[in-house]
């Protein structure tokens, strides 16, 4: 007997059961040692990863002099916002910023749709030629045409200097595809059978049963894709020749290179003299990272395990 339990479609399930809910069972000594070590190690990891970021934020809010003197660590010294004003007053920064937002949204949407479709198909064991389809995807993980053939392809498709050159070529990430396929495979077959018995078509099953149950994986994919598109600069750099089409990552990269480029060139014309100040770099980094950081808390609530607990009885 198979039933779909009510109330399992949404993420709002009961909070995960706490490990040390009662005083009943005392954790073993080994477990407590493990907990302590775990806590210490993870705290260290947090410090190591958080420190550079806090440092950059502090620098972005500081006066130039303390930065040069190496006095800025975690707290801004000589608080001022001139650098923010300076960066924000450059129209090219905002143009490129807007591009990044547009590219990220469009590319993520395309990627999610394509990856979900492909992964769902691949998760069906009864599909003939499934191995070939998986093989085609996996093949691209290990072999690629290389830079120049790709460039020639994109150019001859007429996508150079357009948004499509950025959002289409990397639409399906094979790693994400395989993760998603594995997730779909773990869904109980009985759920779909029940849906079919109740008269849903294939698409209906996907849209009404499978996808609502897959919010966790979709949120994960959304995050993976959004972050990677937000941070990516290489495809845009390859296929776009006009600076008002570039994403803000290329802008940032160029800004930093301009400030440190003097050494790599050896001899630099005096016209390349003016160097971007340390504060400006920090400000640009902060402004570029903030939005994608802000996405995490909103997506995090979908990372709940046990959505499917109790879905299948029998």
């Amino acid at each position: 007997m198979v039933t779909v339990a009510p109330g399992t479609a949404g993420p709002k399930t009961t909070p995960p059961v706490r490990a040390r809910r009662s005083r009943g069972i005392r954790p073993t000594r080994g477990y407590r040692v493990f907990q302590a070590v775990n806590g210490v190690v993870l705290t260290l990891v947090v410090i190591v990863t958080l420190y550079p970021f806090v440092n950059i934020v502090a620098r972005s809010l500081s006066d130039e002099a303390p930065i040069i003197a190496g006095k800025v660590n975690l707290v801004p010294q000589g608080f001022n916002l001139t650098a923010y004003r300076l960066v924000m007053s450059d129209p090219m920064f905002w143009t490129n910023y807007r591009n990044t937002v547009v590219y990220t949204v469009v590319a993520t949407a395309i990627s999610i749709v394509l990856t979900t479709c492909y992964a769902y198909v691949l998760s069906k064991h009864q599909l003939r030629g499934r191995g070939v389809l998986v093989g085609i995807a996996v093949f691209t993980m290990f072999f690629s045409g290389g830079l120049i053939p790709n460039y020639v392809l994109i150019t001859s498709l007429g996508m150079k200097n357009s948004i499509w050159a950025v959002v289409l070529p990397n639409a399906i990430n094979v790693f994400n595809l395989l993760v998603m396929k594995a997730f779909f495979e773990s869904l109980p077959v009985e759920l779909e059978e029940a849906a079919a018995v109740d008269g849903l078509s294939t698409y209906g099953t996907l849209l009404r049963i499978v996808l609502p149950l897959s919010k966790a994986i979709i949120a994960t994919m959304l995050l993976f894709y959004a972050v990677s598109f937000w941070n990516s600069w290489f495809t845009a750099f390859l296929y776009l020749d006009q600076q008002d089409l570039l994403p803000v990552t290329v802008y940032l990269r160029n800004l930093i290179a301009g400030a440190t480029g003097a050494q790599s060139a050896g001899g630099v014309a005096e016209s390349d003299a003016v160097q971007a100040a340390a504060t400006i770099q920090a400000v640009t980094i902060v402004l570029t990272t903030l939005p994608i950081l802000a996405v995490y808390p909103f997506i995090q609530r979908f990372f709940v395990s046990g959505v499917m607990l109790g879905a299948v009885k029998g």
């Binding site: 830079l147 120049i148 020749d241 600076q243 990269r253 290179a257 301009g258 440190t260 005096e270 016209s271």
Partner: protein
């Protein structure tokens, strides 16, 4: 039936193949000098000091190195005025400065390269020569009277010979300087010198004495802490110390050094002079006069030490002095005085190691087939090599951006550039597009120095009085040789860099120098030098 079709296909294929082969062969021969079909838009009477103006409106694509400090704008006066004067419109393909080389390789590899590719640093053009994608410009110098004139007038032929490939041609149109322009030296806290009653050092040995006195007075400091340790450790430091010993080392690393006495090349990392460089630097480190971190720290760390008074000497060029150190010091130690001193003299005597060639332009081979080819070469000649073109690219339009009085250039009062008119509302680079590194470099001495501060002029005066370091004779390798040479060169260089550092920092005793030279031999240093010497002899034989 089947057989006949099959045979037909075979014959057609064979025919095609033959055609391709014939086509391939015929490519080289008559290409030579027939430019009749390429003169559209060109001036028949173009010559030295003549304003180039195309006889019909033309447009050329150009690879544009987009600098973050003055991002490309379409409404720059530079573009409109250029079109007005020359009837040529440039179509820039904007590439961020950060990854310019990579994009250039990609575009050339994909056959999508713009016709004009500036900002190419020799020898990076070598990579494209064998593919046939770029033009052997030496075949077409006759189209460029200003360039030829400057080569003759400034006696630049030996420098140009160093650009030649094994076919005797060169593929790069370099920027030219009338006089070598030495940029890098060291900056010294003169207030400390005064306090210790010391003169500004003139030689590396005097610097040693000065550093020793500084250390005696400030035992907690490392008097000399240097920057620019990328891409290889101690890049700039080894470069200027090496130069004083007559070598190109550090970030101007040249593996083969010409030995004029023996009339052959020797491996730089194994020379006696190189040993002296290492011995000298080792002495500074051992006596704690030179910060051992000089070889690894970031520029910012070195700046911080200087700004905090933990060091008193640092590597410098004109810009870093004005843009980095002085503003830093003004904020932290307002009484400090820092001066860039003339390059210190070493065993090689009073020499000026700077080259008179700059980065330059590659031309796509496709341009040769264009009917506007001659016009394009004339245009490049005017913009990059004529006095008028260079002045235009650097200073702009007389009356609008600058005025010229008896050869002295002055910016218009509302135009700013490197802080000359801090109150100016417009910037020569950002708002007008002049003084742009893509179009403006090199030239006559007074043009090159027209932006220099009086202080920098003083420095240049001293440097220009010195003998230029003689140019090594050419030894161009063939493609195969180059491949083999780089297989040997890379591990050799790694070994030199690693051991240089070990010797200087005292991790390897200097008594092991002979062992080190033996290791270089084991890594094919002799074979490598043999190859270079063979190439040199071949070039001598072929080109007299």
């Amino acid at each position: 039936m089947f057989h006949r079709t099959w045979r037909r296909v075979a014959i057609a294929t064979a025919g095609l193949l033959t055609l391709t082969l014939v086509g391939a062969c015929s490519d080289d021969a008559p290409e030579a000098k027939n430019l009749d079909g390429n003169r559209a838009g060109a001036m028949a009477d173009y010559g030295i000091d003549k304003q180039f103006k195309a006889s019909e409106p033309l447009s050329f694509s150009i690879l544009y190195n987009n600098h973050p400090n003055y991002p490309l704008k379409d409404d720059w006066l530079f573009w409109s005025e250029l079109t007005k004067r020359t009837n040529v419109k440039l179509a820039p393909v904007a590439v961020p400065l950060s990854d310019y080389e990579q994009k250039r390789s990609l575009l050339i590899g994909a056959g999508d390269a713009p016709l004009i590719m500036p900002k190419t640093y020799h020898p990076s053009e070598n990579a494209f020569v064998s593919s046939g994608a770029i033009l052997p410009v030496s075949d077409y110098l006759d189209l460029m009277p200003n360039l030829k004139d400057k080569i003759a007038k400034w006696n630049l032929q030996p420098e140009f010979d160093t650009l030649r490939q094994s076919d005797g041609k060169f593929y790069l149109l370099p920027g030219l300087h009338e006089k070598p322009w030495a940029e890098y030296s060291i900056a010294v806290r003169t207030d400390i010198l005064q306090q210790l009653n010391l003169q500004i050092p003139k030689t590396w040995d005097e610097l040693y004495t000065v550093l020793k006195a500084m250390k005696a007075r400030y035992p907690d400091s490392y008097p000399y802490s240097d920057r620019w340790s990328k891409p290889n450790p101690g890049g700039e430091l080894l470069s200027i110390v090496g130069a004083a010993h007559g070598l190109r080392t550090g970030w101007s690393w040249n593996p083969a050094t010409w030995d004029p006495a023996a009339k052959k090349f020797v491996y730089t990392g194994a020379t006696e002079q190189y040993k002296q460089v290492i011995v000298y630097l080792n002495k500074l480190v051992a006596e704690k006069l030179l910060d051992p971190e000089s070889f690894t720290q970031t520029d910012e760390q070195a700046r911080q030490k200087l700004a905090n008074g933990k060091s008193f000497v640092i590597g410098s060029n004109a810009q870093s002095l004005v843009n980095d150190y002085r503003p830093d010091l003004a904020k932290t130690l307002p009484n400090a005085k820092l001066t860039k001193i003339p390059m210190l003299v070493g065993p090689a005597g009073e020499i000026n190691p700077a080259s008179r060639l700059e980065n330059g332009i590659m031309i796509s081979k496709k341009a040769r087939d264009s009917k506007n080819f001659v016009a394009m070469m004339q245009f490049i000649d005017w913009l990059y090599y004529s006095d008028a073109g260079q002045e235009f690219a650097k200073w702009g339009v007389e009356g609008t951006t600058f005025t010229k009085d008896a050869g002295k250039y002055t910016l218009n009062p509302d135009v700013d550039m490197i802080g000359l008119n801090p109150k100016g509302s417009k910037h020569l680079q950002k708002d007008f597009g002049f003084g742009n590194g893509v179009f403006s470099y090199g030239g006559k001495l007074d043009l090159v120095q027209s932006f220099f501060s009086p202080e920098e002029m003083e420095f240049q005066k001293v440097m220009n009085a010195r003998t230029p370091l003689p140019v090594d004779p050419p030894a161009p390798l063939t493609d195969e040789e180059r491949e083999q040479a780089s297989l040997w060169e890379t591990p050799l260089k790694d070994h030199v860099v690693q051991n240089t550092l070990k010797f200087i920092l005292g991790q390897r005793p200097l008594t092991e120098w002979d062992a080190y030279v033996g290791e270089l031999k084991a890594k094919n240093a002799d074979q490598y030098i043999g190859l270079v010497n063979k190439a040199h002899e071949r070039f001598e034989k072929d080109n007299g």
